[in-house]
Symmetry: C2
DNA sequence: ATTAATATTTAGTCTTATCTAAAAATATTT
DNA sequence: AAATATTTTTAGATAAGACTAAATATTAAT
């Protein structure tokens, strides 16, 4: 059984290992967890002993199959709780993360089974990220940045790259909710900004940077 | 801010201080928490420094006003989560406690406010214990053991003294749910057992011991 | 009122998770 | 390829929460 801290490290390693390189560096882990590299080395030892990661000194870590399973369990819990908070308790997009960080560590398989049922077996969390099933399988539709669409193409908002409060609040303000349909009307050659129409109602301009941080599918 | 462990100690001290003596002994705390007296002394020091209890060496502890408030906050969370588990997630009486022990430590005032709303501002938990409000106020109807009723009197099941799984499962079996109306038909002089009718439907015999562990109000 | 029994505290140790400072290994630059 | 910079690890400390064993207070019993 993993401790809270161990679960957090493992989750971080899993997330980092999705971003390119398969070997995750000590510093990268320390940075995302706001701890010191020395602490990371200590924890890595423990996780390695529990064989949820593979580790060679000075060579970074690779998550094992077992570790991936454990990480996905935590991520499943996190995302299910986020759905609960938004759909049942009327939390806004940007308020859920901190609370879900705590709830994800509650140990009770029955609780998660029943929560899943209660929520109607959701497949995506409020940020549009897929919820792993009990076996750790993830449904993965191809996602593309809004900035990559051609003029007159459209897509459904399914996720964001930047999930800072500031960004999510901005999206709320312009009405670019999860599930919103966005059509690209025009691309301004000067700065790459876009004129878009949201849900066939509102037409706004967004910067290139914003468009790069909104992910859509068709 | 109190840690998980500190919250658990404080909750225990609060509960113990309701049972008669105002000064709670080191051993009593150790017994209910399944720790050793030496560990209790250590923790008592910490809690005393945070002024949630008053402590004099060898004289046991008394919970302070601040401490009472903190304890009631935790108890409020515990009982609200129990309502959620039973009413929304279809947990049975005897499954909720262990999970609520974990959920009660989640730190988010907003979460509890919204949960309370979502549940319709319940006043009692599934065991019939009152839920403190945001200010720590408890609604307290006088409760009496079923064994104390006269023949032909009746009452509503509002709580149990023994909340072990075995007992709760037995109550479920005979249909003596929270809120059930129980009428005492007869008292057997030989062993003090009772013949009762539950919800005007089912008539069963229960032992004196069982009757002493069911609490009712009128 | 001593003695015996019980309760409580102290002293010292362990584990988990963190830190700082220094040493060692790896990467990068010139 | 030697020198420099960066990354990672080691060594040693600290704080929380728990433990055992021994010492000290308090309470009960003769």
């Amino acid at each position: 059984m993993l401790s809270f801290a161990e679960e957090n490290y493992l989750k971080t390693i899993y997330h980092l290992s999705l971003g390119g390189e398969k070997n995750v560096s000590t510093n990268a882990i320390a940075d995302t967890l706001n701890t010191k590299p020395a602490s990371v080395t200590d924890m890595i030892r423990k996780l390695s002993k529990k064989s949820v990661i593979n580790y060679k000194r000075y060579r970074g870590v690779e998550i094992s199959e077992d570790g991936k399973k454990e990480a996905l369990k935590v991520i499943r819990k996190h995302r299910l709780w986020e759905v609960f908070l938004v759909e049942k308790l009327k939390f806004s997009w940007d308020e859920v993360h901190v609370v879900a960080e705590q709830l994800e560590h509650i140990k009770s398989p029955l609780l998660i089974k029943r929560l899943d049922e209660f929520l109607g077996f959701p497949k995506f969390d409020p940020h549009g990220d897929p919820i792993p099933d009990e076996n750790g399988e993830i449904l993965n539709k191809p996602k593309v940045a809004l900035s990559k669409l051609e003029v007159n193409e459209q897509g459904i908002v399914v996720a964001v790259k930047d999930s800072s409060s500031l960004f999510l609040q901005y999206l709320d303000k312009i009405g670019a909710y999860l599930g919103a349909k966005i059509k690209v009307n025009d691309r301004i050659a000067f700065d790459g900004s876009l004129e878009i129409t949201i849900d066939n109602k509102k037409t706004v301009f967004i910067s290139k940077e914003v468009a790069e941080n909104i992910l859509v599918t068709d």
